[in-house]
């Protein structure tokens, strides 16, 4: 209660603000403002060094000799830059197979997610039908169910279907939409004027045609967000492969890394080289498609 009162008080004052001339308050604030800015900048710069230091450490460790990894105290800069560590890492474990497997799964997951979620979201955003609100509430409520509640019975289902030790359990569910992406794309579809769709309908176009020819192209930015998020999810998924894949020829990069850790124990130079190689595609993706990452966050918060 108290908080809302405060707000109304400030509201009244904003009226007052408009009647006052601006220059006066800039004058007596100027100096303190600059001090504040310098302080802020220094704090942010120091903080970003701290935030980036783990990534640098990973890179530095990956180039050290085993002797240097074990040295105490450790150093931030490798004495000799052992680029050969990367080649040895790639040879010690079948990373080429892991990469091909991961790319196969990831590509199909991204394809399924983009297509299915766009299709479903169009239905929720642009077609009026009875029961729509109930179904949308169901979509949202599935976000609240802890994954492990369905994980065990799903495993039973997939094993009865004979899907254990195949990629089906990791791919097929993504062709049926997921709450977060449906919500995200629906938000985006809402910004497309209904008149556009009405006009197309009058021309005799069916909803399939409108979705394919108007919906998909107009929602490209949001689809890029879905593609990137689902790429990231599939690329980083450890639990799914751990549960469903037994045959080492089918292993993904995440599973491979975990096995690699088991074999190498504390040979951190190779482990860090392997980790960096697995994280690199995601880092590159981030720097090229930053915009779409940030857009996803904004859309999911229900804004813009």
């Amino acid at each position: 209660m108290a908080k809302t009162d405060d707000k109304t008080v400030y509201m009244d004052k904003s009226e007052k603000a408009k009647s006052l001339s601006k220059p006066r308050y800039f004058e007596h604030r100027g100096n303190r403002n600059n001090m504040w800015k310098v302080f802020n900048f220094v704090l942010l710069a120091a903080g970003s060094l701290l935030i980036l230091s783990p990534l640098w450490w990973m890179f530095a460790t990956s180039l050290k000799t085993m002797q240097e990894v074990m040295a105490y105290p450790p150093s931030f800069f490798p004495e000799s830059w052992e680029w050969g560590n990367y080649i040895r890492t790639w040879q010690v474990a079948p990373f080429t197979t892991y990469t091909i497997n991961t790319l196969t799964i990831t590509t199909l997951v991204v394809f399924g997610s983009v297509l299915a979620n766009s299709f479903i979201a169009y239905g929720f955003a642009k077609i009026p039908f009875r029961g729509k609100n109930i179904w949308f509430a169901i979509v949202l409520s599935t976000m609240m169910i802890p994954g492990f509640v369905t994980l065990i019975p799903q495993y039973v289902l997939f094993s009865k279907l004979g899907w254990v030790n195949t990629y089906y359990p990791l791919i097929v569910p993504h062709f049926f939409g997921s709450a977060f992406y449906i919500f995200l794309l629906r938000q985006f579809y809402m910004t497309i004027p209904t008149e556009l769709i009405e006009a197309a309908k009058i021309e005799g176009a069916s909803h399939f045609y409108i979705w394919w020819k108007i919906g998909l192209p107009l929602t490209k930015p949001a689809l890029a967000t879905v593609a990137i998020f689902s790429f990231n999810g599939a690329w980083n998924d450890f639990l799914g492969p751990l549960l469903y894949l037994n045959d080492e020829n089918l292993y993904t990069l995440q599973l491979g890394l975990a096995v690699f850790k088991g074999q190498l124990n504390t040979q951190w130079n190779y482990l860090m080289a392997g980790s960096l190689l697995v994280l690199l595609p995601v880092i590159l993706l981030f720097f090229f498609f930053q915009k779409y990452f940030i857009q996803g966050i904004n859309l999911s918060s229900g804004g813009k």
Partner: protein, 303 residues
């Protein structure tokens, strides 16, 4: 005329269901069906190859009354949630307040602080295992610069959970962006008015910024609470392949459930566990929703 409108609407209705059909099929096949199966299964003795044998509430009974490890795993999870949710929320708000200022290069700062949030998976866990190595890791090296003798992190049962929280704090940039977007939506005139009245920056932050971003705080707390209860992957990797770490200190709820389901193949027992978790998360979410009107401020809402 009327009849035509009616068929038109009916046609639209059919189209609507065609479009959401993938979701409906997926919902029945991968969510609702499994939920029912698991609810029924939680009252049985079942190991995937056996027939389901109905045993009443025995699973629930032995979980709550007898199973010490169940209690440990629940305690570990509550501990982790109770510490990580407030810390990451405060951290994200603090960070977004810093990044909401007009300083040179602010866009680069935002990018850098967000970067760790997109990194996840085994690579990140391995990285933090190395960073937290007591003798040869970076964290204790940095602590030694300021004269602190760092703990044994992942090898000391008292420090394993703080280790995971530290890792979590590194990637706080994800929710930071949510807060930032919300802070940028706060009307400038509110701050200008407060400034004229001589309110300090701190007062402005407490009395204007915080109330205006409460909807996002609410969203963040609810989702990270649900997420926190489901911690699994990091514990699985960082405790040495699923064993639950030194002195069971990393035996989280889902990790114990996993071991019951896929190591001991005691599926009925594990499904009973999953329903207890579901109920806990559900109750906490309801409490959150009930408390929300007391502190969450929605713009344009009349009171």
């Amino acid at each position: 005329m009327r009849k035509k409108g009616w068929t038109m609407r009916r046609k639209e209705g059919i189209y609507g269901y065609i479009f959401i059909m993938p979701f409906i099929v997926g919902f029945i096949g991968f969510t609702a069906g499994p939920l029912l199966f698991s609810l029924a299964g939680s009252f049985t003795d079942y190991n995937i190859t056996s027939q389901m044998e109905f045993i009443g509430v025995e699973n629930y009974q032995s979980l709550i009354v007898e199973d010490g490890l169940f209690r440990t795993s629940l305690w570990n999870t509550l501990y982790y949630v109770a510490l990580s949710v407030p810390l990451t929320t405060l951290g994200a708000i603090f960070l977004s307040a810093l990044l909401n200022q007009d300083v040179p290069g602010i866009r680069y700062f935002r990018t850098l602080y967000y970067l760790p949030a997109i990194l996840s998976g085994v690579g990140v866990y391995l990285l933090w295992m190395q960073l937290l190595e007591p003798g040869t890791g970076m964290v204790n090296l940095i602590l030694s610069w300021v004269g602190i003798d760092g703990p044994n992190w992942l090898f000391d049962p008292d420090w394993t959970k703080p280790s995971l929280i530290l890792m979590k704090l590194w990637s706080v940039g994800g929710s930071m962006l949510l807060y930032l977007a919300s802070m940028q939506g706060v009307s400038k005139s509110l701050y200008e008015a407060a400034e004229i009245d001589g309110a300090s920056r701190w007062k402005q932050f407490i009395h204007i910024t915080i109330p205006m971003i409460t909807p996002v705080i609410f969203f963040d707390v609810v989702t990270s609470l649900i997420g926190g209860f489901q911690i699994f992957q990091e514990a699985y990797i960082m405790s040495g392949n699923g064993e639950g770490g030194p002195a069971n200190s990393l035996l989280f709820y889902n990790l114990y459930m996993w071991n019951q389901a896929f190591e001991s193949f005691d599926m009925g027992y594990a499904m009973a566990m999953s329903w207890i978790l579901f109920v806990i998360v559900f109750i906490l979410t309801i409490i959150n929703l009930k408390l929300a009107p007391r502190w969450v401020h929605y713009e344009g809402e009349e009171k």
